[in-house]
C-alpha cells in the first residue's frame, strides 16, 4: 500500500527520525561536492543533485572499519568485537545505491555470514528517492537497478511535485513511517497512476539503446576475450583503484592491526583487486602479476555468468561512478563496449 507525505512535512519526519537514530543523507560540502554524511537537521539534506560520487556504501563497509579490540594485560590478551548497533536511516539515496547495498548484504549473508556487517545493515533503514530525471552517466536500466525500484528498499519516495509518494516494503520501512505516522496519509489512486507515468517517462529517458552486457558476459565467462585486447586496454588503466573505491558493489578488503604497545584495533581496510600486491603470496609468486590479469579479474567478477548465477545479478548497478572516477579510460561501459566490438580505441 502506498502512502503520501506533503513536501512541507518531510522536515518534520526527519526531525522524528533524528530522534530515533542517526540520519545519513546527501549534504553539500563547503566546496560544493555532495557527500553522504550524518545530518543534524533537516535543512542539510540536498535534494537537487544527480548522485554523489562518493558512495553511501561507506556506511556499511567503511574504508577503515574497526572490528576487534585487542588488549594485552601482562602475558594475557583479551579480544572483544567492536559492536556498532546504531540505528541509522539512509535518507534520499538513489535507486542504484539501494540496489548496491542489497547486493553487498546478500554477499555478506553468504555462509559464513559476517556478523559485524549484518549488525549494521539490520539496523539500517534505506529510504530511497526514485529517479524521475535519471542522471546523465547512469545506465541502471541495463542492470535492472533503477531508475525506480521494485525491491531493495525499505521505503521508496517518488517526487510528485507537491508531495512524495511513499512505498513501504519492509518492517523497517514501516517503523520509519511510524516514527511520524500522523504526517502520512494514504496515497490517492491518481497519485499511484502518476508515479507509474513518471516511471515510464524515466525509463524512456534512456532511449532505445539497449545494453550490451549479455554479449560481453558470454565472452568473459567463456574466456573468449583475446589476451591481446586485455593487454591493450590495460595500458589505459593507471591502476588507481578508484573504480573499487566508488563502486557500490565492490567489497575487497584486507585485515590489519592498528595501534601499538599492547592495545590494537583490528581493522578491515578497503582494498582493491586492481593493485598488484593484492594477490602476492609470501613466496613471491603472484598469480595476477600483470595489469591485464587484474583487469580481467575485475570484469570477470562483475560481468561473468559464473558470478551472475551465484549472485543473481551482474556485479554492476549501472551507477556510472567509474566513468567519472577512472583515472584512465577503462571504466565499465568502455570495457564492455570494447569486448563486444572486439577492439579498443580504433
Amino acid at each position: 500500500m502506498a502512502l503520501a507525505i506533503a513536501k512541507e512535512n518531510v522536515a518534520r519526519w526527519l526531525e522524528k527520525l533524528l530522534q530515533a537514530g542517526e540520519v545519513v543523507a546527501p549534504v553539500r560540502s563547503s566546496c560544493g561536492d555532495v557527500l553522504f554524511s550524518t545530518i543534524t537537521s533537516a535543512e542539510q539534506v540536498v535534494w537537487d543533485f544527480p548522485n554523489s560520487l562518493h558512495p553511501p556504501k561507506e556506511l556499511l563497509l567503511p574504508q577503515t572499519d574497526p572490528i576487534v579490540r585487542i588488549t594485552r594485560r601482562g602475558q594475557h590478551h583479551e579480544v572483544e568485537p567492536i559492536i556498532d548497533r546504531t540505528r541509522r536511516f539512509l535518507f534520499n539515496v538513489r535507486s542504484c545505491d539501494a540496489k548496491g547495498i542489497a547486493f553487498l548484504t546478500r554477499m555478506q549473508e553468504m555462509e559464513p555470514a559476517d556478523a559485524s556487517y549484518l549488525r549494521r545493515s539490520n539496523n539500517l533503514t534505506v529510504i530511497s528517492l526514485a529517479c524521475t530525471t535519471p542522471c546523465q552517466l547512469g545506465f541502471c536500466i541495463c542492470t535492472d537497478s533503477g531508475p525506480f525500484l521494485r525491491d531493495s528498499y525499505d521505503a521508496q519516495l517518488t517526487d510528485l511535485g507537491e508531495s512524495y509518494l511513499v512505498e513501504v516494503a519492509s518492517p523497517k520501512g514501516e517503523a520509519a513511517v511510524a516514527e511520524a505516522q500522523s504526517l502520512f496519509r494514504d496515497a490517492t489512486e491518481g497519485e499511484v497512476t502518476q508515479r507509474q507515468k513518471l516511471e515510464d517517462a524515466a525509463r524512456r529517458h534512456f532511449g532505445e539503446e539497449t545494453c550490451h552486457f549479455a554479449s560481453a558476459m558470454r565472452r568473459i565467462s567463456t574466456c573468449r576475450v583475446p589476451d591481446a585486447l586485455w593487454e591493450k586496454m590495460s595500458d589505459w588503466c593507471l591502476e588507481c583503484g578508484g573504480c573499487s573505491v566508488v563502486c557500490p558493489t565492490c567489497y575487497c578488503f584486507s585485515v590489519k592491526d592498528l595501534g601499538c604497545d599492547g592495545t590494537w584495533i583490528r581493522c578491515r581496510v578497503r582494498d582493491s583487486c586492481q593493485y598488484s600486491a593484492f594477490t602476492l603470496e609470501a613466496s613471491g609468486h603472484n598469480p595476477r602479476a600483470q595489469r591485464k590479469d587484474r583487469m580481467k579479474r575485475r570484469f570477470f567478477h562483475k560481468v561473468s555468468a559464473q558470478y551472475y548465477k551465484r549472485d543473481g545479478a551482474v556485479g554492476c548497478v549501472g551507477c556510472g561512478r567509474c566513468i567519472k572516477v577512472c583515472l584512465g579510460t577503462t571504466h565499465m561501459p568502455a570495457v564492455v563496449a570494447a569486448i563486444r566490438k572486439g577492439k579498443w580505441h580504433e
Binding site: 560520487l53 577503515t64 581496510v269
Partner: protein, 636 residues
Amino acid sequence: MLAVPTACPFCSCGCGLYLLAKDGQLVGVAPSETHLISEGRLCARGWAAHEAARWGDRLRQPLLGRNGKQEPACWDEALDYVVTRLKKLLNAGKPVGVLGSARATNEENYLMGRLARAGLRTNNIDFAYRSVCSPILDGIEEVCGRLPPAIRLNDIAATHVILLAEGNLAETHPRVASFVLRALESGAHLITIGYRKTQMTRLASLHLQLRPGNEGVVINGLLAAMFDLDLKERLSTVIGVEAIRRDLDQVERTNEVRQAAEWIASADRAAFLIAPGCGQSDQRDAATTFAELAAISGHLNRSGSGLLPLVARSNAWGAWDMGIAPDRLPGHDLLDGARSRQRVEDLWGKKLPTAEGLSAEALLQSVSGLIVVADDPPSVMPRRQDAMAAMGRIEFLVALDAFVTPTTRVAHAVLPITSFAETDGTFTNMEGRVQKLRAASNPLAEARTGWQVLAELCARFEAGASYSSVSDVLREVGQAAPRYAGIERKLSKDGWGGAMIETIDSTKFALQPSRTTVMEELTSAERPYLLIRDGTFDWGCDPLICYSPTLSRDYRSEQKLFPTGFVEISQGDASSLKLGAGRRAKLSSVHGDAIVPVLVSRDLEPGVLFVPYGFRDHVSSVLGAHGVAAVSVERG
C-alpha cells in the same frame, strides 16, 4: 563523520580530496568533483592518503639522546636543549645548517629560511629533493628566466601534441598521465623521448628512443628540425637565434624527428613535459635544450600551451619558492640581488648573511649542527649511504618530523610535529597553484604544529615575529616573496582549487648557443654496456608510503624478494650473456664493481642496464657519483 577538504600530500599534481575523520581519527578519503585538478579522480596514493598518517610509526613526544639512547623529554626541556647546543656550536664558530623539505608546507619552509638566515645567521639551507630536481629546473631557468611558463594541468587534456621526456609518468604523476590519456582519446599526438619503454611510450604516436648520452643529439635534432620549418613571427620572442642556428647546422635530423617537429609546430596547443632524470649525463643541458625547443615553437606564450617540469614531491615547488636553497631568498630571488636582500632584511629587521651557503650534499658533509625538518635525506638523495654516513658524523643533529625515519633514529634531539593531516598550511603544486592544507585531526599525543615549533625556534634565536595563526605566516610570505603577494587574501576568497602565484608574461626567451651536438660516447670496447640509475623519484622510500598498509605492499615485497637489489637487463643481452632470471651479474666500471641479481626486462634496449632508484645503493660502487656509467658485464 567529518569531511575535510585538503590537498594530496604525495606528488606535485596537487589533487584535492576530502580526508574523512571519525571521532578524531582519519578513516578514509572521498573524491571531489568540484576540485579543479582532481575532477573526482585520484591515484592510488591519493586514495590512501588517510592511511599514510594514521598507520604511520608516529613520533609522540620529544626525544633527547642521553646515555646512548633516545629518552623522552618534555617540550621545554627539549627546546632548551636544542637551543643551548646550537648556540654553543655557533659561539664556537662551527658551521650549522638547516634542511627544509619538499613535503613540508610553505609556511614551515618559510620559517625554516627565517630561522637559518636571521636566527642561525647562515645561508646553509637547502632541501634534499633539490639535489634531484635542480638540474632540470636550472636548465629551464637559463632559457625562461626565473619562471617556467607552466601549462595548467587541465589544459593538457585539450592539447594536440604532447612532448614527454619520459621518466615514468604513469607512476610519478598519475594525474598528469590521466590528462595525457584524455588528450590522446581526442586524437592528440603523444611523442615520448626516453631510453626505456613505459606505459606512456606504449601509448605514444611516436617514440624517440634514447641511448643514455645521446639526449643532446635527439633533443637538438628536434630543435634543428624545428628551425627547418617556417616559424615566422614565432621567433620574435626569442633571443640568440642566429648563433644557435649555426650550432645546429651539422645536427642530424631523422625522419622521426622531422615528423615530431612538424606536429609540434602545427599544433594549436602543445604541452612540453620533462621529468628529472632526463639526460642522465647532463640533465641541465637536456632541460635547456628542451626549453629552447618549447620557446622557438612559439608555444610558451600561448594560452593552453606550455612547459612543465615534472617535480615529484608535493611541495617541491613551494620549497623552491620559499628560497630553500643556499643561494636564494624567498621568492627564489638570488641571494646577491640588492633589491631582494633589502626587502627581506627590512621585513625581518636583520642583516642577512652574505656568504653563499652549502648545498644539501656539502652541508651534510661539513656542518657540525643540523636541523632536518620533515624529511629523511638519505632516502631522497642519490647517494643514500654517503648521506647516512655523513649524518652519523654530525655533532648535533635535530630532527623535526611526524614520523619515525632513519634520520629521527640517529638524531640527538627529536621534536615531534604534525603531519599533513593535522596542520593547516599551503602547498604549491608544479603549475604554481597554491592550495590549502587543512587539519583533519588533532596533533598526536604531545606533537605540536610544525609552524609553531619553527616560530618558537625563530624566537629563541632572536629572529622572531609573533604569529597568531598560520595565515599570519602566509601573509608574511606574501611580503617576502613578490609572486606570493596577497596570496593569503586570494586563498581565503578562492578556497578550493587554490590560487595561482603571479606569473610574469611576455618574457623573452634566451637561447643558449654552443652545446654538445655529438653523442657522448661513454662506452668502450672494454666496457660496452651502460648502467643507468632510474631518475624518477622512488616513492617507496617516502615514510608516507612505507607506513600505509595498501601502498607499502608493492614496495616492501620488492625489498623482500630482492634483499640485494636487482638491475634490469634487456632480453637480448640476457641471452647473449647467459644471464637468465635469478642469475647474478658482475658489473664493473672505472669506479668499482658489484654483483647483483638481474631481472630480464622487455622494456630495455640492448646495451643498457637499469637500476631502480630504490636499489641504487647496491650499485653505488659502480656508479660512483654519477647517474650513469659504462660497465662490463659478466656472470657473477
